[in-house]
């Protein structure tokens, strides 16, 4: 019945707004919830990586990265997640149709799995963000090593996490499995508290 029209619930609902969070003053770290990202896993079919790259390039003007990098054009980005595997991320598009739109565009060179709802994404930025992430992430984010466009699949405080850098501020986006949004938010909060946290859209 169509009168029930359902609305999606942010994975961070009830987790980022808890008391104390926004009270911590200072702008060491700024958090922003990204509920506007559509996502899908794109995996090249056996022996079809070149064909997939060709399709992606033709259709979206994106050169598929060979490693853990994020390559974007307009609102669409492809992030390398493994050999022959990518996470396609679209900002602001229709999440419900993203996977099928991709499938339509990429043909049978790739298998596609809709992941729009499976991740909870936080955008974190600010002068102390590296210090905060160091408390849970075993990856060197020093600007000489990890730059805008770089991405990494890893874990943060025992929570599987996918992270990519957007700019030199620095700004990162971190994606975790949706069910872990609460634990992740709690970790970020307690780790960032000493530097001060601002939340853009709690």
């Amino acid at each position: 019945m169509s009168d029930l029209a359902l609305k999606p619930l942010s994975a961070f609902r009830g987790h980022l707004a808890f008391t104390g969070m926004s009270e911590a003053s200072g702008a060491g770290v700024t958090l922003e919830v990204r509920d506007d990202l559509a996502m899908a896993i794109v995996i090249a079919r056996k022996g079809r990586l070149a064909a997939l790259a060709e399709n992606v390039c033709q259709t979206y003007g994106i050169d598929l990265p060979a490693g853990p990098k994020r390559v974007a054009a307009g609102s669409l980005a492809f992030i390398g997640t493994g050999p022959g595997q990518f996470l396609a991320v679209e900002q602001g598009g229709d999440a419900l149709t993203f996977a099928s739109r991709l499938a339509g565009a990429l043909g049978d060179a790739a298998s596609i799995s809709d992941q729009s709802a499976s991740r909870a994404v936080l955008r974190v930025s600010g002068p102390r963000v590296r210090g905060v992430l160091a408390k849970g992430l075993a990856i060197d984010l020093h600007p000489s090593v990890f730059r805008p466009g770089d991405a990494a699949l890893s874990s943060i405080a025992l929570i599987g996490a996918h992270l990519w850098q957007l700019d030199e501020r620095p700004t990162y986006e971190i994606s975790v499995f949706r069910s872990l949004a609460g634990s992740f938010a709690e970790f970020i909060w307690s780790s960032a508290a000493e530097y001060g946290v601002t939340i853009d859209n709690p």
Binding site: A5, S10, R13, K46, S111, K135, A157, A181, S183
Partner: protein
């Protein structure tokens, strides 16, 4: 004023801040120190000589050293739940309001009842407990052991949860410099100037190492000033991280170093949002160990008296802290460095009574120095015994070169037996130190890859050598990390002689001569150990506990080896060393846990309907990190069984809904997806029609069931697999293994979809009607269009894409509907609303469990990792037409044995009887012995449908014994009763309800 309250404080000098007096307490006595003091230096300044009691004999002990090697001055800090036992006073930075207490004494430090142990000392020698306390046998646990345990241990833990927070963090650098003395500073400076990312750690609160305690000049300025300038340059460099109060405690594989930063231990109170301590895992391309050297005592009678202090520590107290450890000092040294104490004390106006140096031929310079200090020189002499009262030393007996014995008055004996390079970290990965005869000490050999040793830690004791070596190793490290470095100018320094003559133990001492102060191991104990055959250094250590105390024998080990070597007639290197292990200095257990304690021990996964379930007041249970609703109590329901039975009844008679999103879900795609599934499941999937679901079982390669679940075929090249909740990650890993390692030639793509879909089971006779309220009208979900084991994709609630599976765990007409997870919360609310007319009832994991037991479905309790498909009664599913993981090994006689226990059902003969899982089955009338054990109950439930308890379990030959009775034997619960064996499917055995 200050002088009066700090009677042993020099009027001037030192690196303390006299403008910042700090009040503190020791054993309830109020005292004052200064910022820049350690607790030990403040105690020295206040004339406190007695700081604690030893472990076994309760001997009075005072401060021995000025560093983290301290064996004696262990105190208890803070109070309440923050009480902290066994803290070395020498490493505690003084703060206002600090409260410290002495340990291991009763009733007081000055009068300690257990000091009578000293009288029994002849009995309490090495290994005495192995030889006694055996009769009568029962007395050990009741009497002897409690006594031993009470006497053992030093400090008292609070017994309360630690209220502080701790953090862990990672750091990365090109060059890690461990130790910020002259060597480390030069190394850091050189690497820094080369542009490398440098981390410099020092366990002290000030950089400078020995330079803070000595009177060196460097490049024409005082050592401390040179330190200030150097640290300032480092601090200004963006590529350098300075970490004070940070001990590198361990070297781990592939360039990972463990370090502990004491963030708040020097502060009177906790700073909000800051941890007490932070555990760093530093990944360094290269590291330079510049940890200095540790001075060793000399073993002679009474060398543990309060007032017997290491010679370099005396200089630390005098020069760095302007505190005087005695009024009449004697110096007993076998090396040139110890003579600095003579010079510095004299310069500070402290009377030096005597200098005893076993070297008969001393250079002119030293003889003159003794003269200038007004000290009697005993060249070629030895201190035989030291005497005193519990508050301290009063006199020493000196054996002169000529063999006569002279008694001298002194309240402080500065001793130096030479230096041991602090090489512990170089051995953490297994390399053994080597003996360097020229300096009579062990130095590192083959340090871990990427780590080099420099300065005193490398046996280069003179300052000039330290500076040069630090610079050279800093440059080498930077180069190795990919930078080009140039050697800086090495600042000019004066001569720093390092001559020595080994003297480990003074012969002919009459009183107890201590080797390990903290564990009360004497030279005599070593002799006993030797005579009893415990001669290997490792046996010596374990038999006497030498080197096993909180200081890990930093001041004791080499003396002990030397004494053992003399007893066995071997050389010191032949005798060998015991193994150093991390941590270099003890680290609070909480620091290793960091954030991960209490509720945050492990991350928690919440289901899509969690918020809603919490609103309903559901209790949650943990399954594979998920929190799942157990049941949904209605107002007034206080007994869980009432709620659960209501949920079961409502589902079986109407409709129920349950969040099953936690089941693992995997998209299996590609042209060979079907063939792939055929190889991982015991049954066939390549033939499954699109739009159909099939139950599958997968085995491990050893033939045992790994997991089960349903898999749907959504499209030609797209299957959607579900796994059990707890095995989801394991199955994914297994499939990736099969795909990447075993059969990379297959065109298969795998993607976890567990988190993408919120999935709800809607079960019960009214399930279809409830669903119809959600499904968009163009989709037909009639029995014909979507029969049992059908699958389809459709839209609901006005266009929301969904997947619908007609599968049933409950045995009712049932569906599982999946929508993108963000809509899960909306969907559960929608289901509750459209289902209301049909009495829709949410059910939790308990009701789920009841219904699956009623249907005889195996779950976690049954799939315990030792069960075959045949055990489950699923032998017929095992295809004989194809290969699959586990097929061959499942044929082994032990697994194919028809006599193996089989899954069957059980009913209590007395239907009022409650069943319990874990009960064993015995034949009726048989004795309760293991030989008669025929199986056990795996799962039980109260079946509201049957109105009695039912159970599943494994029973020998079970399948052929339906209708028989056996005894359920449950002695740990005191239960014993008869049960009837039945088919494991209690309800609707033909499965008719599923298909309506």
């Amino acid at each position: 004023m200050a002088a009066q309250s700090q009677p042993a404080r020099l009027q001037s000098g030192g690196l303390i801040d006299r403008a910042r007096p700090l009040e503190f307490q020791f054993d309830g006595r109020k005292m004052t120190g200064y910022a820049g003091d350690t607790l030990a230096s403040a105690l020295v300044a206040n004339g406190v000589t007695l700081t604690g009691r030893s472990f076994k004999y309760h001997r009075p002990r005072g401060v021995l050293t000025a560093g983290s090697e301290e064996p004696n001055a262990l105190v208890e800090l803070r109070g309440g739940s923050r009480r902290e036992p066994n803290t070395k006073a020498t490493t505690v930075e003084l703060f206002a309001g600090l409260e410290a207490r002495s340990q291991n004494r009763w009733p007081s430090l000055t009068f300690d009842a257990l000091s009578v142990n000293s009288l029994f000392a002849p009995l309490l020698v090495a290994g005495f407990y192995y030889k006694t306390f055996m009769w009568p046998a029962a007395f050990w646990e009741k009497l002897y052991e409690p006594l031993i345990r009470k006497a053992a241990g030093l400090g008292r833990a609070s017994g309360l949860p630690d209220p502080d927070t701790y953090e862990k963090a990672f750091a990365f650098c090109d060059v890690l410099v461990i130790g910020g003395g002259p060597t480390g500073l030069m190394a850091a400076l050189t690497a820094c100037r080369a542009g490398a990312r440098v981390i410099l750690c020092d366990e002290d609160f000030g950089f400078g190492g020995r330079l803070l305690s000595e009177t060196f000049e460097i490049a024409g300025i005082s050592g401390a000033s040179w330190v200030g300038e150097t640290v300032a340059e480092l601090a200004e460099s963006a590529n350098v991280t300075l970490m004070r109060r940070t001990t590198v405690f361990g070297v781990y594989d592939t360039g990972t170093y463990g370090a502990l930063e004491r963030v708040g231990d020097h502060l009177p109170t906790h700073v909000p949002h800051q941890p007490r301590q932070r555990l760093w895992k530093i990944v360094a391309k290269r590291a330079v160990l510049a940890a200095g050297a540790i001075e060793r005592p000399i073993v002679f009678g009474g060398n543990d008296r309060p007032g017997a202090v290491m010679a370099a520590a005396v200089r630390s107290y005098v020069n760095r802290y302007a505190a005087v450890p005695g009024r009449r000092i004697a110096v007993f040294t076998n090396n040139d460095d110890g003579w600095k104490t003579v010079a510095d004390c004299a310069a500070a106006g402290i009377p030096v009574e005597a200098v005893i140096d076993p070297r008969a031929n001393l250079p002119e310079g030293l003889r003159n120095l003794a003269d200038r200090a007004g000290a009697t020189l005993f060249a070629g002499g030895r201190v035989l015994d030291a005497y005193g009262v519990s508050s301290g030393l009063q006199a020493i007996d000196v054996e002169t070169a000529g063999g006569s014995i002279v008694t001298l008055n002194a309240d402080c004996l500065a001793m130096s037996g030479g230096w041991n390079p602090a090489l512990a970290l170089t051995t953490h990965l297994g390399s053994r130190p080597v003996w360097r005869p020229d300096i009579h000490a062990f130095v590192a050999s083959a340090p871990p890859p990427g780590l080099e040793v420099a300065g005193a830690a490398n046996g280069s004791l003179a300052l000039a050598a330290c500076l040069a070596e630090g610079a050279a190793e800093g440059a080498k490290a930077a180069e190795a990390a990919g930078f080009s470095a140039s050697m800086p100018a090495i600042p000019a320094v004066g001569a720093d002689p390092t001559g020595m003559m080994p003297l480990w133990k003074v012969e002919r001492s009459r009183t107890k001569a201590f080797v390990d102060f903290q564990n009360d191991v004497t030279a005599k104990d070593i002799a006993i150990s030797e005579s009893e055959g415990y001669r290997s250094v490792e046996h010596l250590k374990r038999y006497t506990a030498l080197g096993m105390a909180t200081d890990q024998g930093k001041t004791a080990n080499v003396n002990a080896l030397a004494i053992m070597a003399a007893l066995t007639g071997k050389s010191i290197p032949e005798t060998g060393v015991t193994t150093f292990r991390p941590p270099y200095t003890p680290v609070a257990i909480a620091a290793f846990a960091g954030h991960h304690r209490g509720k945050h021990f492990r991350p928690t996964r919440l289901t899509p309907s969690h918020l809603w379930a919490a609103e309903q007041g559901a209790p949650f249970v943990e399954t594979g990190q998920w929190l799942r609703a157990q049941w949904y109590p209605r107002p007034g329901e206080t007994d869980w069984l009432v709620s659960v039975s209501r949920e079961v009844n409502a589902t079986r008679s109407g409709v129920g809904v349950c969040d099953v999103s936690t089941l693992g879900k995997i998209d299996i795609m590609g042209a060979d997806a079907g063939a792939f599934l055929d190889r991982v499941y015991i049954n066939t999937f390549s033939t499954l029609a699109i739009g159909k679901v099939r139950y599958g079982v997968m085995l491990r390669e050893d033939g045992i069931v790994m997991d089960d679940g349903t898999t749907a075929r959504l499209a030609d090249h797209h299957y959607y697999m579900s796994t059990t909740t707890v095995n989801a990650a394991k199955v994914m890993q297994h499939l990736e293994f099969c795909h990447q390692v075993l059969w990379p030639e297959l065109d298969v793509q795998l993607a976890s979809a567990t988190e993408q879909w919120a999935q709800f089971a809607i079960a019960g006779p009214n399930a279809r009607d409830t669903l119809r309220g959600l499904i968009d009208p163009e989709f037909d979900i009639s029995n014909e269009a979507l029969p049992y084991m059908g699958a389809t994709t459709l839209t609901i609630c006005g266009g929301l894409p969904a997947r619908l599976f007609r599968i049933s765990f409950s045995g009712e007409l049932a569906y599982e509907i999946a929508v993108p997870a963000g809509y899960g919360d909306g969907l559960i609310r929608a289901i509750m609303s459209v289902g209301a007319p049909f009495g829709v009832t949410p059910y939790g994991t308990e009701a789920l469990g009841v219904m699956r037991i009623e249907k005889g479905h195996a779950a976690g309790n049954e799939l315990n990792g030792t069960i075959t498909a045949a055990d489950l009664g699923l032998g017929r599913m095992m295809s004989t037409k194809k290969d699959y993981i586990g097929r061959v090994m499942a044929e082994r006689p032990g697994l194919a044995d028809p006599e193996r226990p089989r899954l069957v059902g059980f009913k209590p003969v007395d239907r009022a009887q409650r069943l319990r899982a874990g009960a064993h089955f015995l034949p009726l009338g048989a004795k309760a012995v293991a030989a008669n054990d025929e199986g056990f109950m795996t799962s039980v439930a109260f079946s509201p449908s049957l109105n009695h308890w039912i159970g599943l379990g494994y029973l020998k030959n079970g399948a052929s014994r339906l209708g028989e009775r056996v005894r359920a034997h449950d002695p740990v619960r005191g239960l014993e009763f008869e049960v009837e064996i039945c088919d494991p499917i209690f309800i609707d055995p033909k499965g008719e309800r599923l298909r309506v």
